[in-house]
């Protein structure tokens, strides 16, 4: 669990972060979103004390972060950034091993951990292990960056626009990977992005910042259904808010017991946006739905999409 309590940062008398308070439950994926200059990176960097706070407190699992020496605190928190910052003179293996070595793990445990992480990142262990960062693609480098952040098995992971510099396809791929890794590891993740769609796809909770202040904090469904201000509504997508709401909901939650709908069935795990898209493409207002094993589970109708 991580708790922000009236966190404040001043830059030249101006408040870059102004009394921001919210609490992220342990194991949750929290996205910090907002336009450029909203203070989201500053807020993130105050958690591992790369930026000093001017007021308020951050508590991790109830402990104030200023209680530990900064170096010890940082070794307990995973950190991945957009520019990756892999050490160019170290192999992939040595890069991933950075924090375990600082914590003086035995070498065999480090080697096993490196192997485990490369497998988790779906990289070819033997081919990648001894390569230098410049021999990898941007996407691979970012995977190594995330692996390095996870190396010492921290409970908390800070990610500052980790996929910001990648092309859209690699970006989508890594998003899916990150969602999978979050599920598999149960880490608490704080994730800075300016891309609201990325936040909606990945996050359990979203903190929207504007000019250093917290504009709204809540689940994606909350923010979409009940934006607290015009700014939040606009930032969430304005006129397309409804479509984004559909993207948050699954077909399975809107089933009707009707097995007579014609055509190829869609999965009950598909989003309502996908269902709507299929209806438009097929020129129909009803779709058959199948469950995970492919058995018919019912149908979804256009009218069901509109009722929430």
């Amino acid at each position: 669990m991580i708790e922000f309590d009236r966190v404040t940062k001043l830059y030249g008398g101006k408040r870059a972060v102004a009394e921001v308070s919210f609490t992220v439950a342990g194991g949750a994926f929290c996205a910090l979103v907002g336009p450029s200059g909203a203070g989201k990176s500053t807020l993130l960097r105050m958690v591992n004390r790369l930026v000093a706070m001017d007021g308020g407190a951050v508590r991790i699992a109830g402990d104030d972060i200023t209680k530990l020496p900064a170096v010890n605190l940082r070794r307990r928190i995973g950190y991945a950034v957009q520019s990756v910052g892999l050490f160019p003179h170290w192999t992939v293996e040595d890069n991933i091993a950075t924090v375990p070595r600082l914590l003086q793990w035995p070498e065999d445990r480090i080697a096993a951990r490196v192997r485990e992480l490369l497998e988790l990142m779906r990289l070819d262990v033997e081919a990648t292990r001894r390569q230098y960062p410049h021999q990898l693609s941007g996407g691979q480098q970012q995977r190594i960056g995330v692996a390095r952040a996870l190396a010492a098995d921290p409970d908390l992971l800070l990610m500052d626009e980790p996929f910001g510099a990648l092309d859209p396809i690699t970006r989508r791929e890594l998003r899916a990977e990150l969602a999978r890794i979050h599920k598999a590891t149960g880490k608490t993740i704080l994730f800075v992005t300016h891309d609201i769609d990325e936040a909606l796809e990945l996050a359990d909770v979203i903190a929207i910042l504007r000019d250093g202040a917290l504009a709204q904090f809540g689940t994606p469904a909350d923010l979409l259904a009940r934006p607290a201000s015009d700014f939040v509504r606009e930032f969430m997508g304005g006129a397309t808010l409804g479509l984004k709401l559909l993207a948050q909901r699954r077909v399975g939650e809107h089933l009707r017991a009707d097995t007579s709908a014609p055509g190829a069935p869609i999965s009950r795990d598909a989003t309502l946006t996908e269902a709507l898209s299929q209806m438009v493409l097929r020129g129909t207002d009803r779709l058959p739905v199948s469950d995970a094993s492919g058995k018919p589970a019912g149908a979804v109708a256009l009218a069901d999409l509109i009722r929430s």
Binding site: N72, R74, G85, L86, H89
Partner: protein, 253 residues
């Protein structure tokens, strides 16, 4: 078989091999060339410099350059590290100015000023060469240490490396090729400059050169100059070898 051929060809076309052999030959067997020099400069007797042997001259010369370059490296690198730490940034312009003054001061003038204090011999030459060698090393140390990408430094701090660990594990290894280039330049300059030390009585490869100039014996000047020149070239090629090893992780494109 083909592979072995390629390796042999690579060794045979290696400039280090040929310059090394030429250098070793001139140092060890200069007297063998006496008939050639006798024909070229019939008035000079003996035709080959007959003071200390060229092996001895070279050993003194190399020791002087090695000692002064080591001193310049220790001072230059330490000052460069200090100037790039948070506590030292304010001293950076002063340090750079001091090193520049050291460099622009003619070595002959340093010798002239050092002799009254230290007497004749190797000591004033050592001081002059050390002062002269600091600037390129200091400048390159500062340039190298500040060139580590901001993202790399940010990640290093964010993962919990201490400032000393960042310096030793990240900044210095990344700066090593640049620092080495500074040391290389400094050593090469000092190999040439050390010859001037012979004007104040240091025994170097400059001894036949200075002696030859004073006594108008051009043959000695040529003999000394050939050995100094080859020494500088061989040393430079050796540095190139080290440099390639240091850059093994660098981009290969």
């Amino acid at each position: 078989m083909k592979r072995e051929g390629a390796v042999t060809a690579r060794i045979l076309t290696d400039p280090l091999l040929w310059f090394g052999l030429a250098f070793a030959f001139f140092v060890a067997f200069m007297p063998v060339l006496a008939p050639i020099f006798a024909r070229a400069f019939p008035s000079i007797e003996p035709p080959v410099y007959a003071g200390d042997s060229f092996v001895a001259l070279w050993l003194f010369h190399a020791a002087l350059v090695a000692a002064s370059s080591l001193a310049a490296t220790i001072i230059g690198v330490s000052a460069g590290i200090f100037a790039t730490r948070a506590a030292g940034t304010e001293f950076r312009p002063t340090l750079e100015a001091l090193a520049t003054i050291g460099q622009t001061f003619p070595p002959v003038a340093v010798l002239a000023l050092a002799v009254p204090a230290l007497g004749y011999g190797a000591a004033p030459t050592f001081i002059a060469l050390t002062l002269y060698g600091i600037l390129p090393i200091l400048k390159n140390t500062i340039a190298g240490l500040t060139s580590a990408p901001a993202a790399v430094r940010d990640a290093a701090i964010g993962m919990g490396l201490t400032p000393l660990q960042i310096l030793r594990q990240v900044e210095l290894p990344l700066a090593a090729p640049v620092i080495l280039a500074g040391i290389r330049l400094s050593v090469i300059i000092n190999i040439g400059t050390a010859t001037i030390g012979s004007t104040v009585g240091a025994v170097t490869l400059g001894t036949p050169i200075i002696g030859g100039l004073v006594a108008n014996k051009i043959g000695y000047v040529i003999q000394g100059a050939i050995v100094v020149g080859l020494f500088a070239i061989v040393t430079d090629l050796l540095f190139e070898r080290i440099d390639r090893r240091l850059r093994r992780f660098a981009r290969r494109d």
